[in-house]
Amino acid sequence: MSEEYPGYSKDAIEVLKKVGAEIWSIVEIKTQSATYKGILLPRYQLSEPGFIEIKLESGYNIGIKLTKDIDIKVVGKREGKYQIPEKSFPTNKKLPNIKLFGTGGTVASRLDYTTGAVIPAFTPGELFSAVPELADICNLDTEIVFEILSENMRPSYWQQLATKIEKEANSGIDGIVIGHGTDTMGFTSAALSFMLKDLSVPVVIVGSQRSSDRPSSDSALNLINATTVAANSDLAEVVVCMLGSSSHKYGLIHRGTLVRKMHSSVRHTFRTIGDIPLGKVENGKIKMLKREYRKRNKSKTKAITDFEEKVGLVYSYPGITNDIIDFYVDEKYKGIVIAGTGLGHTPTYIYDSIKRATDEGIVLLMVTQCLNGFVGMNVYSTGRELLELGVIAGKNMLPEVAYVKLGWVLGQTQNPEEVKNLLLTNVAGEFLEREIPIAFNYNAEEL
């Protein structure tokens, strides 16, 4: 992959170099049948080899096949110019102070029509240009913590975030918003829920399902809703706040340990599983739907961030073999979450590996791949046998939440008794006392 000619194949680069054409050069290309003038563009990685890509004056991009009789002439150069708007975010002493942490992804962005690139907007001034409504809600300060795609998230990033939040919360901020890619948002919300002890202010994680470079994006509304919750709610929990319907109407507030991305693309992809959402936010108004939640307080927030990374997450399926579990044992893992079938089962034909794992002191935590409901390991003989083999029943925990919790618990202690106790303690609302009847298929419209 060439840095000078991204996405171009070897033969194309040769031809371009020979005529002195660089990316962003204005070129005139003569083929057998026509002549084109446009700006030479970088190509995506893994593009078809043997093509040259230009942006025509009409704004359209085209690919021209490289042939022997093609004639390329450089006639100028046009580089994308990015001018950041010089607006500053207004301050109003009457409004709460909010800190927005960026982790990558674009909550707001600008388009570069010359290159087609999307440029993130993140400084308070830029955000004010893109979403001026924010200035009516709060005073905003921003900080980019890291810039990654959310699929590239790592436990060490959760630790960094938790530490930053601890500092902000203890220095008098009124609320925290975290801009986050949606893919692993549920993992991060769970991790921060476990790591932030005695939280004093709301920590609201937000993202968008339609990127901010399109007019129909949900990002501005999500950002407005999340900021409203961070500024004005009486919560002191880690929550996810995203649209609750396909319409641009209201946002839902989900507890960080009960939330899951349930659709690959729709706007209202996030759902609280096992319960109804904590609340709803619409047109600047917050309506709490649950009575039991941690309230804003004056306590000192502590980030307890130790995390054991040698934890695996295994999905049980018909045909699974002992090798799968054996692999984790061989690789010296400290714990495995098993997303079992139904009430918390695996096939009996992998008992050998399960026994070996627990014999070697590896913590096995069982949750259900049904996502909804509790594991019930005393109902059938398989469940009882698995308990007998030393598997711990993880109640109603979502597999991802169980994974994060197990890593965090093993980060605190490796003493088997303590591990088991802590695993079965309701640390951050991850366990449900009871499952209310509408939890399974609540309709957010009717809440």
């Binding site: 078809e48 359209y60 085209i62 708007p85 600008r110 007019p215 129909s216």
Partner: protein, 640 residues
């Protein structure tokens, strides 16, 4: 209609033609490419669009204008024919192969150069017509031509393959309603070069391209499946885009009226120069006249001021007579300014001093008082608006800006075609600056093999088809053209296979259906197999041609209705001659008195009675013959 010396004026016209393609499914999802008419929607969605910052960290003017309208958008959809893609909830699926092939066919017929790698771009639209806020579009080929009947060749700039937008149902206050069924139907956009130099040539060119498209048999041929836009300029004017030209008949008046508009705007600029008025002379000095006119005799102003609205005025020195200058039939410069104010601020109407102010109810004293306060002389023109203060001030700003531009002649802008041949301001011209790559789809490779395969099987040019058919079936070329434009050429051929009667088939397909439509019957609902069944029955004399119209009118009720059901419904049974004679005799016997009175002239009345009973069960010619015979016999019997 006034004719101009177009050559002297340097008239240049370019056409954009949008044509829906007849594919089974949509361009980027596999929903059926099907409009649902008036069927009530199953669900609705509410959305808001926001402008996107452009490369300089600024918003596109046209997009901002749209955003400032503060519109709520409601999308209406159907459970069975709309998917999450149209709702902007799922990324695009593979680009429809069938659609690409049709675009390649059309590009080849237009002798264009086809690109080997197509890139899907996004074209921003903030009016809500596309739920994601942009239309996915890809340029397929460039540099073609079409030869007009006159022999002149018009260059074709581009052909793009794109998604059709959602169907606008209504605007209710600040809400736009769009139906999602039309969204995503594949469309080609063909752009000609500005090689066209007269209105007639523009019409000819549009018709020629339309004929070429419909002649492929691969495009949708229902009402609204083809839409045209025009680009018009004269040497001293600017390029004006006219959107939504629905009929070919609109071309000539629209272009002539645009020529008139541009000439008059240039005339205004020249007059200002003659009068020695310079842009610096204008001052955006808006004066509140509400207090001075709170007791005015002008009813709506009086009422407005009492309800808290403001009457604002501004004076334009040296503009006397210019606001009243007619640009297009019944549209003055004042109308032009008012129209722009209305589109952007929503404020309806303005009053200017080139109008008869007494007509509004203002007294002469009031007019004088206003003139005094605005410092307006008889050389000037002053303008008034009435509205809530913020809105009225915004309107004044638009009025000032637009009037200031009078020094620059014609402003490049996008206008909407009106049925009377005039146009009105729609929005600022969109630049190429709203196209950016669609990051959700990958480039489409068009191999030379694929192009060759398509070019091997290109359909014949329709004007050649017209000649061939005309010769083969001894029918006028004009009728073959009508068949193509009705989308019935294939049906015509199929019908001839079952019933070799070209003239009757032509009459049925072209004229009878038109007559039915005039009577409010939706003849477009009749499907090909129903026609074929009808022609089969005509051939075997099971029904007579007299009843075709009645039969079609029944068939139009549902594509599921069979001819058998219609026959039952209309009580058509095949009659033998003996049956007929019996009916005729009965009628003649009953009509003895009439025959006594009118003799042979009783035929008309009696024929009606017979036909009522025959109900298309036997050929009308035979009926007439038998009836005549029977009347004659009766007359002989009565010794008349």
């Amino acid at each position: 209609m006034k004719d101009y010396d177009y050559k002297k004026l340097g008239l240049k016209v370019g056409i954009e033609i949008h044509q829906q393609l007849d594919t089974k499914t949509k361009l980027f999802c596999r929903c059926p490419s099907e409009l649902r008419g008036n069927k009530p929607p199953d669900f609705t969605l509410i959305r808001y669009m926001r402008p996107v910052l452009g490369e300089m960290g600024l918003y596109d003017e046209a997009m901002l204008t749209e955003y400032e309208k503060g519109m709520t958008i409601v999308y209406e959809g159907y459970k069975d024919t709309i998917c999450t893609y149209e709702m902007d909830e799922t990324p695009p699926f593979e680009c429809n192969y069938e659609g690409i092939d049709i675009a390649l066919t059309i590009a080849s017929l237009l002798k264009m150069t086809i690109f080997n790698e197509l890139h899907v771009s996004r074209k921003n639209y903030l009016d809500g017509s596309v739920p994601c806020g942009f239309q996915r579009t890809t340029v397929v080929a460039t540099d073609g031509e079409i030869e007009l009947e006159s022999g002149k060749k018009i260059g074709i700039e581009f052909i793009c393959l794109e998604e059709d937008a959602a169907r606008k149902i209504e605007t209710d206050n600040k809400t736009n309603y769009f139906r999602l069924d039309r969204l995503g139907i594949p469309l080609v956009e063909i752009t000609t070069k500005p090689d066209i130099n007269t209105p007639q040539e523009a019409r000819d060119c549009a018709e020629r391209i339309g004929l070429l498209l419909w002649g492929t048999g691969k495009v949708k041929t229902i009402l609204g499946s083809i839409r045209q836009d025009l680009n018009v300029s004269i040497a001293k004017g600017s390029r004006i885009e006219i959107k939504g030209v629905q009929k070919l008949d609109w071309f000539i008046p629209l272009i002539n009226n645009e020529v008139s508009r541009q000439l008059k705007l240039v005339e205004i600029t020249e007059k200002l120069k003659e009068r020695g008025i310079k842009p610096e002379t204008l001052e955006e000095k808006v004066i509140d006249l509400s207090k001075d006119l709170k007791n005015t005799k002008c009813g709506f102003v009086n009422k407005g001021i009492k309800s808290g609205k403001k009457l604002l005025g501004i004076n334009f020195p040296g503009f006397n007579g210019l606001f009243g200058l007619e640009l297009q039939p019944n549209r003055r410069f004042g109308t032009e300014v008012a129209n722009k104010v209305n589109i952007i601020s929503g404020l309806k109407g303005l009053i200017h001093s080139d109008e008869d102010l007494n007509k509004y109810g203002f007294s002469n004293e009031e007019v004088e008082a206003m003139k005094k306060k605005l410092n307006s002389t008889s050389d000037d023109c002053f303008v008034l608006v009435l509205g809530k203060e913020e809105n009225a001030r915004k309107a004044m700003n638009i009025i000032f800006k637009r009037t200031e531009m009078a020094f620059n002649g014609v402003l490049g802008e996008t206008r909407r075609a009106l049925e009377d041949g005039n146009t009105e301001f729609l929005r600022e011209l969109h630049g190429g600056a709203r196209l950016y790559p669609d990051t959700d789809s990958k480039a489409i490779i068009i191999t030379n093999d694929r192009i060759n395969d398509i070019q091997k099987e290109l359909p014949e040019f329709p004007w050649i088809v017209m000649k061939q058919y005309s010769k083969k079936y001894k029918i006028e070329e004009r009728l073959v053209k009508d068949l193509i434009f009705e989308g019935k050429l294939k049906l015509f051929e199929k019908s001839l296979e079952v019933y070799n009667n070209p003239s009757l088939i032509l009459t049925t397909l072209l004229e009878t259906t038109k007559a039915l439509s005039r009577d409010g019957v939706n003849a477009d609902e009749i499907i090909d197999t129903q026609y074929i069944e009808l022609f089969n029955s005509l051939k075997s004399n099971e029904i007579s041609k007299e009843i075709i119209e009645d039969v079609l009118s029944e068939l139009a009720k549902s594509p599921k209705i069979t001819l058998k059901q219609v026959k039952k419904q209309l009580k058509i049974t095949k009659l033998s001659e003996a049956d007929l004679i019996k009916i005729v005799e009965e009628v003649v016997n009953k009509g003895t008195d009439l025959i006594k009175e009118k003799k042979m002239n009783a035929f008309g009345g009696l024929m009606g009675d017979v036909m009522k009973q025959v109900r298309g069960g036997i050929d009308g010619k035979i009926v007439a013959e038998k009836l005549r015979e029977a009347i004659k016999n009766k007359m002989e019997e009565l010794k008349l």
